[in-house]
């Protein structure tokens, strides 16, 4: 293929989407005996990937990025939503149609140790997809200057002349001439074609003289060279290779059927750092050479920045921000992206960059928070208007207390606890006072801490509570005290509900929208982009300045 054609294809790529995902949800139903909730691994995701583009997908482990990738290649069944591939919804495909489509979308797995069957030789491994699909299924185009209708007999299936065909039979004066596509491992002379011309139609008969098994072997050898291995590796076993070489085998297998779209599921994260770059460069070269479209799943942000055109940041089954890589890295808009990027270590030791530390761990995808998925950990979560002026530490304490209650409510209770609850026995917190004290006492230094502790042992619970809440403004204090009372009466859910009603803002109440945040079409999933609230960035700056 000529250079001009390729660049032309790339120019139109931006406009034309190859993969379009609308409202995709993938839930795992773990089907416990006690009727548990499904794991919402992917919980409503929309994006599109342009032809020839590389979209990066980043996020913490467990955020659902691998599940999303696997759903795109139909290794998982989507619970809801659609995946349009070239405009066709592939989530509804089955049987032969699905099998046929699988040629177009392939996946490279994370662990080359586990993705290659160790009992098969490398040649057999790469060849298997070819065998499965009966490759090569020659597509034959008939180029007839008179434009008559053509019929085909013998090997191959007829395709329209304007599509790229494996074999092109040109009719024009006397015997037909045959042209075999360059990427096939055979010559024009391996194909015999004969024609019978009639008034309005042409009957073409094509026979390929080379055995399919030989073509497949040749194809595998060619693929081995394409991914930077050698022909003689055909007969080796995976365990005789290094991790990087094994990953190359995995890539060769994914490319065997000439797919258009490849999901790269953390393709380099299991590799040695020195090998990572080589494999990344290989992927880059292959993309240029074959016009591939990638979904690049990774948790290494620098790798993503290096290889991706656009990036989607995922958290708890949602895409928090998606946009052009460079722009997103330089100027993150979403609070989650901001926190995530601030975690990248700086190579400059003298640089004094403030880091945002997120509290706690991501909530369980079985029970995601209502509203914004990030609301339980967001450092710049919107406060209800009446608590705008409450001291930062105290507000943090309230959030922490609510989080503790939330987690307690969702924890897997053992049989004993369930039985106790049914019998009306004590199951609650017996240490709520300790928790409140811990949560609202603002970071005492070591010196102050010791005497305070000694003193607290003499105080009774009421006094300790009063002491802990001494600095809390009365508006907040009454609610906390009521909640503590409720907990003491073993009414934890009510206490949780009370705190939620009093202190929850829009963040925890309703899901945000994907707000466009730049001219390039970047969107961010955050309430703070609504005009009535401050943008996340200045709030972050304010926050970091305070520390």
């Amino acid at each position: 293929m000529s250079e001009e054609l390729l660049t032309e294809a790339q120019q139109t790529a931006a406009a034309e989407a190859l993969v379009e995902v609308n409202g995709l949800k993938t839930y795992y139903d773990t089907g416990g005996l006690l009727g548990s909730q499904p794991v919402k691994a992917v919980d409503g995701v929309d994006f599109s990937i342009g032809r020839g583009e590389t979209l990066g997908l980043v996020g913490e482990s467990g955020c659902g990025k691998t599940t999303l990738g696997r759903t795109l290649v139909q290794l998982e069944t989507a619970t809801d939503g659609e995946v349009l591939f070239d405009g066709r919804d592939v989530t509804t495909l089955s049987g032969d149609e699905l099998k046929k489509w699988r040629r177009d979308a392939q996946i490279v797995f994370q662990d080359p140790e586990s993705s290659l069957n160790s009992r098969m030789t490398v040649g057999e491994i790469i060849r298997e997809p070819l065998d499965v699909h009966g490759w090569p299924n020659f597509s034959v185009a008939v180029a007839d200057p008179q434009g008559r209708s053509a019929s085909l007999s013998g090997d191959g299936t007829l395709t329209r002349a304007d599509e790229q065909a494996d074999i092109t039979v040109s009719i024009g004066g006397g015997s037909p001439t045959v042209d075999v596509r360059d990427t096939l491992p055979m010559d024009d002379s391996d194909v015999d074609a004969s024609i019978t011309e009639r008034e309005s139609s042409v009957a073409v008969s094509v026979s390929v003289t080379t055995a399919k098994s030989r073509l497949r072997r040749a194809r595998v050898r060619e693929l081995l060279e394409t991914v930077g291995l050698r022909e003689e590796h055909y007969y080796r076993y995976p365990h005789q290779f290094s991790g990087g070489q094994r990953q190359r085998v995995g890539i060769a297998r994914a490319l065997a059927l000439e797919p258009e779209f490849v999901v790269l599921d953390e393709p380099v994260s299991a590799l040695d750092v020195s090998v990572q770059a080589k494999v990344l460069n290989l992927l880059d070269d292959l993309q240029d050479r074959f016009g591939l479209t990638y979904l690049f799943i990774a948790h290494d942000l620098s790798v993503v920045r290096h290889i991706c055109d656009r990036v989607a940041v995922m958290y708890l089954g949602h895409i928090m921000e998606i946009g052009e890589t460079e722009e997103l890295f330089r100027n993150p808009k979403n609070p989650y992206t901001y926190s995530l990027l601030s975690a990248i270590p700086d190579t400059d030791p003298s640089a004094t960059r403030e880091r945002v530390t997120l509290r706690g761990t991501p909530p369980s995808p079985r029970d995601p928070p209502s509203g914004c998925p990030f609301s339980t950990r967001c450092p710049v979560k919107i406060r209800p208007a009446e608590f705008e002026d409450v001291d930062e530490d105290i507000w943090e304490g309230i959030e922490l207390l609510r989080e503790i209650l939330r987690e307690r409510e969702q924890r897997d209770r053992g049989l004993r606890e369930r039985a106790k609850q049914l019998l009306g026995l004590e199951t609650g917190f017996d240490d709520i006072h300790d928790v409140v004290e811990e949560v609202f006492t603002s970071e005492p230094t070591a010196g102050e801490n010791q005497p305070a502790d000694d003193g607290s042992e003499e105080m009774d619970d009421e006094q300790r509570l009063a002491a802990a809440l001494s600095e809390v403004p009365p508006g907040v204090r009454t609610h906390v005290e009521t909640a503590v009372e409720l907990i003491e009466e073993d009414k934890e859910p009510q206490a949780h509900r009370l705190l939620t009603e009093e202190f929850e803002s829009v963040c925890g109440k309703e899901p945000p929208e994907h707000h466009p945040v730049s001219e390039t079409g970047r969107t961010s999933y955050c309430h703070r982009h609504r005009p009535e609230y401050d943008e996340p960035e200045p709030v972050f700056e304010h926050l970091l300045d305070q520390d």
């Binding site: 089907g31 069957n117 297998r253």
Partner: protein, 498 residues
């Protein structure tokens, strides 16, 4: 590319260089011609057995008198065919190297091969039989090498590695030799046993033997039944024929004799090997196939299928196996299906059904583990069919467990069959069967007739060890990562021999 030259199909490659193949086939034909009689009679036996089963099956279904006439005609044809087959010359037969005769006072033996002592004549026959068998197998192996060298398309295939690994696996080879020795014993039972089955097991009263009577100083005739009775081992010093001894009638007993009615133990074991090994191997084969198939299904699909199989296998395992066998044996006692191979097939299938849950349990874990490997997902991602995925990407990883557990269960099946015989079900006398030898000898273990139980018991131990070793060898041969097996093999072999 190197392969442009050799893409000719097999027949063409054969035609272009026929000499090695023709030579090989010629030698093979000569080897087979030596045993033409035996091969022909085996074929006739199989055909008549099948015809008999079909006839009785048809009789059971139709219940009319039409069948006997046809059956009679077929029977007659088969009988004559059998006679023709028996008339063909056979190298490995007692006619060629007879070992039964009598000794006159001058020490000379009459009626034996070249006047050899019966012991030596018998040994010679055994050696010839095994030499023939191993020779034939070696020739087949040569044939494979020949094919690889001259006619195979590829210079190298993964199977070559498997073969190479087996060739350096001493413990596995030991197993192979042991297994072949036993299979040879079963196949060549008529040639390898010191006495005929007719004289020894089935119809002794109708056969006479000749012996030299010292009292009357002449060669006398006597019914084989009486001779057997007189030479039975009964545990007391004077009435015992221990291993490697002659009885009073000049007959050699390599394994001694059994108790009433005094059969030759070696003959009993050789014919018994046919029954016991067949039942054992069919039973284990059935349970391995079931366990393998179900483990693939349950590991691949999980969920409801897994639960269902757990339920079924637990139910089977909770049934007392012997009770189920009793039930089945009693139910089919007079049914034609229960008659096939003297009831052996029915027993084997029942044992297979009883044994598969254990095997399945043993491989369920490994199967689930391999189902989680990403290469299974990869196969799905390019649209490989589920059945092929299971066969290519999962089964090879569970076969090793199946081979090992299967070979260990083999002894249990053989003993189990004898338990049934003990209760009057299963394989009944006079059909020989290993377990029964152990059972009948149990009372004599502490007496001078200790051999009746001990030798069959030892044979079972050896055959189980042999299958186990062969299973080990196959497992290691199949695993491309077991390159450095040699070191271990020695240790295991030493352990096995101790």
């Amino acid at each position: 590319m190197s392969e442009t030259t050799d893409v000719l199909p097999f027949t063409q490659r054969l035609r272009s260089n026929p000499r090695p193949a023709l030579l090989w086939v010629g030698v093979l034909l000569v080897l087979l011609a030596l045993e033409a009689g035996a091969i022909a009679s085996v074929a006739v036996t199989i055909v008549s057995g099948l015809a008999g089963a079909v006839a009785s099956g048809a009789a059971a279904v139709v219940g009319g008198p039409v069948v006997p006439s046809i059956g009679g005609a077929i029977d007659a044809a088969l009988t004559s065919a059998g006679q023709v087959a028996n008339g063909l010359p056979t190298l490995l037969s007692r006619d060629a190297i007879p070992n039964q005769g009598y000794q006159t006072p001058d020490g000379a033996w009459h009626g034996t091969f070249l006047g050899l002592e019966p012991k030596h004549a018998w040994l010679l026959r055994v050696v010839v039989v095994y030499a023939y068998m191993f020779g034939l197998l070696w020739w087949c192996w040569r044939g494979y090498r020949l094919y690889v060298r001259h006619y195979r398309f590829a210079d190298w295939t993964p199977r070559d590695d498997v073969v190479d690994r087996l060739r350096t696996h001493r413990w596995g080879q030991f197993g192979l030799v042991v297994v072949l020795l036993f299979v040879g014993m079963a196949l060549f039972a008529p040639a390898i046993s010191p006495m005929t089955a007719e004289q020894n097991l089935y119809n002794a009263a109708q056969h006479d033997i000749e012996y030299y009577d010292a009292d009357s100083e002449s060669v006398e005739k006597m019914s084989a039944f009486d001779a057997n009775l007189a030479s039975a081992s009964r545990g007391a010093g004077s009435v015992n024929v221990n291993p490697w001894q002659y009885d009073d009638f000049g007959r050699f007993h390599p394994f001694g004799t059994m108790t009433n009615p005094g059969q030759d133990l070696f003959t009993f074991m050789a014919y018994g090997a046919r029954v016991s090994l067949a039942i054992g191997l069919i039973a284990i084969g059935v349970s391995i196939v079931m366990a393998a198939g179900l483990s693939m299904l349950t590991a691949y699909y999980k969920g409801v299928i897994d639960l269902a199989v757990v339920f079924v296998s637990d139910s089977i395992q909770s049934l007392p196996g012997i009770l189920l066998l009793l039930l089945v044996s009693a139910t089919f006692q007079n049914h034609w299906f229960g008659q096939i191979y003297n009831g052996g097939l029915l027993l084997a299938l029942t044992f297979g059904v009883v044994y598969w849950p254990g095997l399945w349990r043993a491989v369920r874990g490994p199967a689930l583990q391999v189902a989680e490997q990403e290469w299974v997902d990869a196969a799905k991602s390019y649209g490989q069919r589920s059945a092929t995925t299971m066969r290519k990407h999962m089964l090879p990883y569970t076969v090793s467990y199946l081979l090992i557990y299967g070979s260990m269960s083999l002894g249990g099946v053989i003993i189990g069959v004898s338990g049934l015989s003990f209760l009057g079900l299963g394989i009944n006398p006079p059909i020989p069967e290993w377990g029964r030898a152990i059972a009948t000898g149990q009372d004599y273990v502490t007496t001078p007739a200790w051999h009746i139980s001990l030798l069959p018991g030892l044979l079972i131990v050896i055959v189980v060890t042999g299958f186990n070793a062969l299973g080990d060898g196959i497992r290691d041969a199949m695993d491309p990562e077991s390159e450095g097996e040699d070191a271990d093999a020695g240790a295991t072999a030493a352990g096995g021999g101790a």
